[in-house]
Point group: C2
DNA sequence: ATTTGCTATAGTTTTTACCTATATCAGATG
DNA sequence: CATCTGATATAGGTAAAAACTATAGCAAAT
């Protein structure tokens, strides 16, 4: 009987399934299954009734849970006795803008829970940091890039704009469109080329750098913008988001790092989950 | 921080040295050293001051010991909650006669302490058993034999016997000697051949099988016997034990087993420890 | 009926805990 | 004071354990 096995047991008990426990503990599901089996063998009792979907604690499992909890808490307390003033794990994470608050909150929440005593500092992606959440085009030569998710570029349209009524927006529909140009931007470069190819001109009203400002101006009715959208942004009810037909471009967001420390490793594990 | 590391720590604390702890825990000394080092790293503190001979607990070590003890006791208690009526480990150990009470007591004591809930039954070596402490000549074809110790054959002489005064007994000194013959016995077969080679005859007064009876008769003054001696036997102050010059034979005592179960494995570990 | 999300097993890989060998050192001993 | 002894720490290697991926099988959900 080992502390790790008890940790897995507690995770299973609290999650209600082996699969959920495996996510919680950042190990593969068969590792949880095998560990539980060995714990049951060493205690000579069954701890859970297995169902097709999830497990249910047996009487023995109910008995063991508080005891295991207490033992694990005591082990943590022992660690704390000796480590109270020692390393918090400082970690500077660079972020690009516009990553989506809900998604990032979730990610960072899971990250901070996964690392003991993490002291997380969020900085801009161009400041000194140990890892960065960046788009693929920002990847440096000496940097590893682990893809996390993709965001499609879509046209952001003010609420009462004519284009809001068109179901499938064609590039020709952009002729003389009041446009908010965001650059430097992969998407803008792509769109620019496509506009040139179609002999279409937009009416650039503003040139800005950040997605936030672009969205602000769209909301104010100044014009449209072509930006990568996340779930957060799409929820904004004062803006319509529509793809442009035959213009499918997306940006790939991922984790960039040059040195794989344990903390970066854990961030990668957290990031690559789901 | 792991339970095993804490067990090793407690063993070191209680023994006062890593070497003693390694014997207590039946692992090699480098395993203890390495485990302690890792525990100290994980707690970010030094637990012992190392000396050339043994270690001394630091303040942190003094602090940790009761906490570790408590945690380990709790872990044992949890095991007990679920295993109170389950397996005692029954184990039948066959023994040959004349193995030496002190040595065997020590061995069996360490064996029973090393195995949780051991239920040890001592039987004769020719009864059904899972392992046997036997001499090499009793080893069966399908049996593994792990040497444990050797016992030299010596002449057992009554206290007031003439031979007791001779410093170096020669085989010729055995001419017409009142003799207690123990057989079947490897030693007797060897001696018999040597007597024949030297054209010497002993006066066989008794033929017995066991070392105990042989010693009893020697003590009673009936004659001498040629038997393997252990520390126990040599302590008997009513008998002299002397080697016979140029007749160096010994019997090899070891562990015989046909199937290597965990319990047999532990017995072997205990047995092979000096 | 099909899809989905779970558990359990098989086979493989990686990591850990053990081993033996031995260097080094300081205390014990003759 | 030289030598021996018993200790700890490290190096290199091996075996076992803990992880992985792949996937079979199953029952609930759709």
């Amino acid at each position: 009987m080992d502390l790790r096995a008890l940790e897995y047991f507690v995770a299973i008990y609290e999650s209600g399934s082996l699969s959920a426990a495996s996510k919680k503990k950042f190990v593969a599901q068969p590792s949880i299954s095998s560990s539980l089996k060995q714990l049951e063998q060493s205690l000579s009792t069954s701890l859970f009734v297995r169902h097709a979907r999830g497990v249910q604690a047996t009487h023995a499992g109910e008995q063991l849970y508080p005891l295991a909890k207490q033992l694990l808490d005591q082990a943590v307390a022992i660690r704390d006795v000796f480590s109270t003033d020692t390393t918090k794990t400082p970690f500077r994470l660079g972020l690009i803008k516009g990553l989506g608050v809900a998604r990032m909150s979730d990610l960072l929440g899971r990250f901070t829970r996964a690392v003991d005593s993490l002291e997380l500092t969020l900085v801009s992606q161009d400041e000194p940091c140990q890892a960065r959440i960046i788009s693929r085009d920002l990847q440096l030569n000496n940097e590893q890039f682990v893809p996390m998710w993709q965001e499609e570029y879509q046209l952001a349209i003010p609420l009462h704009h004519g284009l809001a009524l068109i179901d499938n927006i064609n590039i020709l529909d952009l002729q003389d469109l009041a446009f908010i140009q965001r650059s430097p931007c992969e998407g803008w470069a792509y769109l620019k080329q496509a506009l040139k190819n179609a002999n279409v001109r937009v009416d650039t009203r503003a040139k800005i750098q950040t997605i936030e400002y672009a969205l602000g101006l769209v909301k104010a009715g100044l014009g449209c913008a072509f930006i990568p959208v996340s779930d957060d942004i799409i929820k904004d009810q004062k803006i319509h988001f529509k793809p442009i037909k035959d213009l499918s471009i997306s940006r790939e967001i991922g984790l960039g790092y040059t040195h794989m420390s344990d903390t970066v490793k854990m961030l990668q594990a957290v990031a690559c989950q789901n």
